[in-house]
Structure formats: C-alpha cells, structure tokens
Amino acid sequence: MLHQSITAAVSASALMVEGANVSAGKVPIVRDLSFRAEAGRMLAIIGPSGSGKTTLMRAMTGEAAYSGSVLLAGQEVAGLGPEALASLRGVLPQASQISFPLNVSEVVGLGLTGERRGRRQRHQRIAEALLRVGLAGFESRVYQDLSGGEQQRVQLARVLCQVWEPLPLGGSPRWLFLDEPVSSLDIRHQVQIMRLAQDYARRGGGVVAVMHDLNLTTAFADEVLVMRGGNRLAFGQRDAVMTAELLSEAYDFPLEILEREGARSVIVPAGGGTGTPWLLN
C-alpha cells in the first residue's frame, strides 16, 4: 500500500481532494478520499467498474454534491458557479448524444459559449481545434453522421476550445477532466487523444483522466490513483503504482507485467488469460 502525505498548503496550481465523500442518490459511493494532483502533470484514475471513478469525477467537476473538500485552483469547487468553473476547467464526457443536427463547426463552437469574441476569431479557433484532433475540414459535416470515434474527437475539440490556454497569463492553470476519453476509439486515435492530453499537461495545464486501458495509463500518466470500492487503494507516481501485485489486487484478477527493454512495460492477464477461471469468486 502506497501512501503519500498530503501537504496542507493550498496551492493555486493544484487539485486538492481531502476527505471527500460523494453519494449517488442516497447511496454513498466515494468514501473519505484524499489526494493531490498538480497542474503540469497527468493523473489517471483507474479501478474496476463500480469503484467510484466517475462519481469522484462528477464531484471534482462540480456536477455532484460532496462533503469534505475539493479545491481547484485554491477554491472550493462547490462554491464556484457554472461560469467560473467553465473558465477554469473543461470536461469531456464518456459519450455524447446531440439532440439536433448541428454541424461539427457548431458543436465545437459551443465550447466558446462563455467567450465574447469576433466571428472570425471564433472560426479560426474552431479550425485550429479541429486541426489538433485530426479533423481539419470537417466543419460542415453533420455531427450525427460521424463515426463514434470522430464524434468523440469533435467533443474533445469543443472542450479544448473552452480551455484553450493551459496556463493563461496571470491566471491559475486550467484543467481537463476526461471521463474514459478513448473507450470508443481505435488504437491510433486512442494514442493521438492521449498525446493531446499529455501535451496539455506539458504546457502547464492539469489533466485528470478516468481510464480503463491499463497500457495507455502506463504509457501516458504521470500519477495514478487506484480506486476500489469507493476508497483509495493506492496513489502515487506511475511506476510505483503500476505493479502486477497492486493491479491484481485492485481488479481482483491475476495480472502480470511484461518488461520491455527501453520501452514502457505491457500489462496482460497472468499466463495470457487462458489459465484464469471464467467464473471469478
């Protein structure tokens, strides 16, 4: 069990969660959770389904009520209004359905809802965002006609538009919250999206991503928070957390790590998965 002491100092460049409890309806999901993430780094939250990853995310983005403390840029998230939060962090949901046939340019432009800027600047920003996610020239395509992977990249472009500068001049860093950002993508686009997120962190922004893919987590995360049953099982630097022993415990499933020379290791089911019983427990 890893433990990293949480410094009490409030920092404008950190996301500080202390003793957070979050419920869905009346059922407590996340219990007494604490950790601290720094801007400029990428934090992955992993853990089995139902371990409270998404619920924790909802508390950190200001969507769900919580008790305890969640500080973003030194401010309590629950006390910030939607406008203030929107200028501080962007949120990429798991999958997004849009109710009317907006075209790609209009969907991405929704990320600029809170900004007052000229029409030409808006369209330039939209074009740049689409270029980043590899969808240049898709402006007039109807969102509903795109593949799931393309839709997810359009949504990322929208979120990027909202928090374009990771480190605004004279302001605190901005944050990207990604809820399973690459689940619906093929491997090439998975890596592309993760690189974009990593780049956002390298340029000074904070990135928090709920992840299912352990290998992408190993490849891109700086820190990892492992959740199980609504609690923190482990939190710390990637290499310290992503061990076969700890991950096997987290997922209640035997995993092994294949070390590679000069590259990130690969996590696979122990013995290739064939030896594991189908019925667990």
């Binding site: 209004g81 939607p82 939060l85 929107a86 949120v91 849009i98 046939p101 990320g111 809802t113």
Partner: protein, 377 residues
C-alpha cells in the same frame, strides 16, 4: 484574402453564402438571409390578408393613415377613404391579422423552446397537453366568469382569461415535467403518455362545463376544440399582446443556453450554463405564451412542430436564429392559414385549427418516420 472584395452583410450574395461560408460550416449568413426573407414574406402576407375578403379594399392607400389611428388622432375615416373600407380594415381585418401574427409567433416559438428544452423535435405545447391545461383555465373563466369567479374577473378585467389560461398551462407544464423527468433526464415517451392522460383529464373537466354553460358560452367553448381567430377584435389583441410580446423579447436570452442544452444537461452545465434557471424561465415563458394564445384562439395545433422543424432543415438548429425565424414563419403561416380559413367556404368560415391539423398532422408523422431509426424516439 478575398474578404475585402466581398461585402460582409450582403443578404443574398449567393457566391459568398454558398461557397466560402459553407466550407467553414458557418450557417449564420444563411440564417440571416432566411430571416430577411421571412420579414418580407410576413409583411407581404399581412397586406395580402388585409386585402382579401368579400369586400375589395384598396389596402395600399390605407396603410399610410394607420399610424394616426393608433395614436388616437383620428375620428372616423381619414379624408379620401370610404368609411366602409376603413371600418372593414381597421375594425375587422387588421385586429385579426395582428392577432394571427401574435398567436402564430407565440405558438411557433413555444414549440421551438420546448423542443430545445426537452431535446426532442416532437415536443410541443399542443401535443404534450400544455394547451389542454391552458384551455381548461380559459374555459373555467369563460363559463364561470360571471358566476363563481366573478370577483377575479372584476379584478383582472380583459386579462382574466389569458391569465387563467397561463395558470392552467403552467400547472400542466410543471406536472408533466415532474412526471417525465428523473434525475435530470427527461423521457419524452413518458412525457407524451402523461400528456395524453392530462389532455383527457382536462378535456373531461372542460366537458363538464358544458352543462353549466349558456348558449353563447357553448359557442365560445366549441371554438376551443378546433381553434379559430373568428371574432378577433382589439380587446382580444390587447389582452394577449403584452404577454406574447414580452415572451418574444425574452426568448432570445435563452438562445445560448438552449444551444448548449443540445449537448445534454450535464455538458451544458460544464460549459457554464445555469441549467436549472434556464429550464425554469423557459417553462414560464412557454406557459405564458401558450396560455395567452389559447385564451384568444383556442387549440390551434401543429404550428409549434412544423415551423421550427422546417427552419432547422433550412438553416440549422442554432437557437439564436431559430427563435426569431420561428416567430416570423409562425406569424406568416398562421395569417395565411387564417386567410384561407375565412375564404375557402365563404360566406361561412372554417375553424383554422382544421387547416393547421390537415397540414400539420401528416408532417408530424413524416418527422416520426424519419426518426424511427434513432434511439430514444
């Protein structure tokens, strides 16, 4: 860049609209052009409707004198205008055209707002029972206004019936919203079914009023069922106009929020929209405008579905343009339908609700067919 040679705001510069902007996915110039065309079409329809009827009237000659009439600077007909023509236009046809424009705009905008709110192109005050609730409120005052409800009638005067319809519409909307929404997600299927039940209930209650109504009230009640602009006068315009005009000026402030809501409530909040406030104001405005419309014209259906849908097909779903364009096209179409209603079986008159239902119901089915493949209705 070729920008310098092309004027920014030319409405119908087809090259600019079609080629340069479409590539960027920018439908705003197109939307502005559509609104420009609709302004012209609405004015033309108004003039044509004023000129249509059993008596031929030289409308263009009368128009310059109209401002004086409203400023009360005019007694009788202006010089050089036959008194009969003047009265036909100013006391019979003009109030009807104005009322048609107000009701058409209110119904179309209410539909558009409700569709944005429920994130579904089939939501409409008429279909989910808001109009039925408003109708019950209005019917109560029509029948009992001189009896049990006389004190309220005396207090609110000509605004009593529109206010009662507003209250009925608001109660119906709130009930439907409560029933159809669970943990922030509105199920349109539940909403429609609840609307059917609510419609039946209010219908039954309205039906009971028949037994206490006198002959004149019965005639008035019957016109609720089908919807009609017959009997329009300046009093009716005056009772509905403040509410509808306030609503028309209020909805543009909802446009940004309704656009964001296409992403869903959670994502709309993420980009900085106060979703609960948006929903509250939207419901209030829709109930007010629907109530005012129902109070003066009864149950005119399908305008709120057909108009926004046609516009979305032409210029896209951006509410900043969709809402004003809906107001214009709604006004234009309702005046046209009403002109048809009062000429098609002349000297008798057909309730306008029959015409809008004949055109609108198949249109509704067509939308339904096109969306069958999509999930969630």
């Amino acid at each position: 860049m070729s920008d310098l040679t092309i004027p920014e705001r030319t409405f119908l510069s087809l090259k600019w609209l079609g080629l340069r902007q479409a590539k960027q996915g920018n439908r705003e110039p197109l939307a502005r052009a559509v609104i420009g065309v609709l302004v012209a079409a609405t004015l033309a329809t108004m003039l044509a409707s004023l000129a249509t009827g059993p008596i031929a009237v030289p409308v263009p000659e009368l128009v310059p004198h109209m401002p004086a009439y409203f400023l009360s600077a005019l007694e009788g007909a202006p010089e050089g205008v036959a008194l009969r023509d003047w009265i036909v236009v100013m006391e019979i046809r003009l109030p009807r055209v104005v009322l048609g424009a107000l009701v058409g705009a209110a119904l179309a905008v209410s539909g558009a707002v409700m569709q944005g709110l429920f994130r579904n192109p089939l939501a409409d005050p008429g279909i989910i029972g808001v109009s039925a609730g408003a109708g019950l409120g209005a019917a109560l005052f029509i029948v009992l206004g001189n009896a049990a409800l006389a004190p309220l009638m005396a207090l609110f005067g000509i605004y009593a019936v529109p206010l009662a319809a507003f209250a009925g519409g608001l109660i119906a909307t709130l009930m439907l919203y409560r029933i159809g929404t669970r943990s922030g997600i509105t199920s349109v299927a539940t909403l429609l079914l609840a609307g059917i039940a609510l419609g039946a209930l209010t219908g039954a209650m309205t039906g009971l009023l028949v037994y206490v109504a006198d002959d004149q009230q019965l005639r008035d009640l019957q016109f609720w069922g089908l919807g009609s602009l017959a009997g329009s006068n300046w009093d009716k315009v005056q009772s509905a106009a403040p509410i509808i005009i306030a609503m028309l000026f209020g909805v543009p402030f909802l446009a940004r929020g309704l656009n964001a809501l296409t992403l869903g409530e959670a994502a709309a909040a993420h980009i900085g929209i106060r979703v609960q406030r948006l929903k509250n104001i939207s419901i209030l405005l829709v109930a007010a405008a629907t109530g005012a419309s129902v109070a003066v014209s009864g149950g005119i259906g399908f305008v709120g579905i057909v108009v926004p849908h046609l516009l979305r097909l032409t210029m896209g779903p951006d509410h900043r343009y969709l809402l004003p364009a809906s107001a214009l096209l709604g006004a234009c179409l309702l005046i046209a339908a009403d002109t048809l209603a009062r000429t098609i079986v002349a000297p008798a008159e057909m309730p306008i609700g029959i015409i809008t239902a004949f055109a609108g119901a198949p249109f509704f089915l067509w939308i339904l067919l096109r969306r069958r493949g999509l999930t969630g209705l």
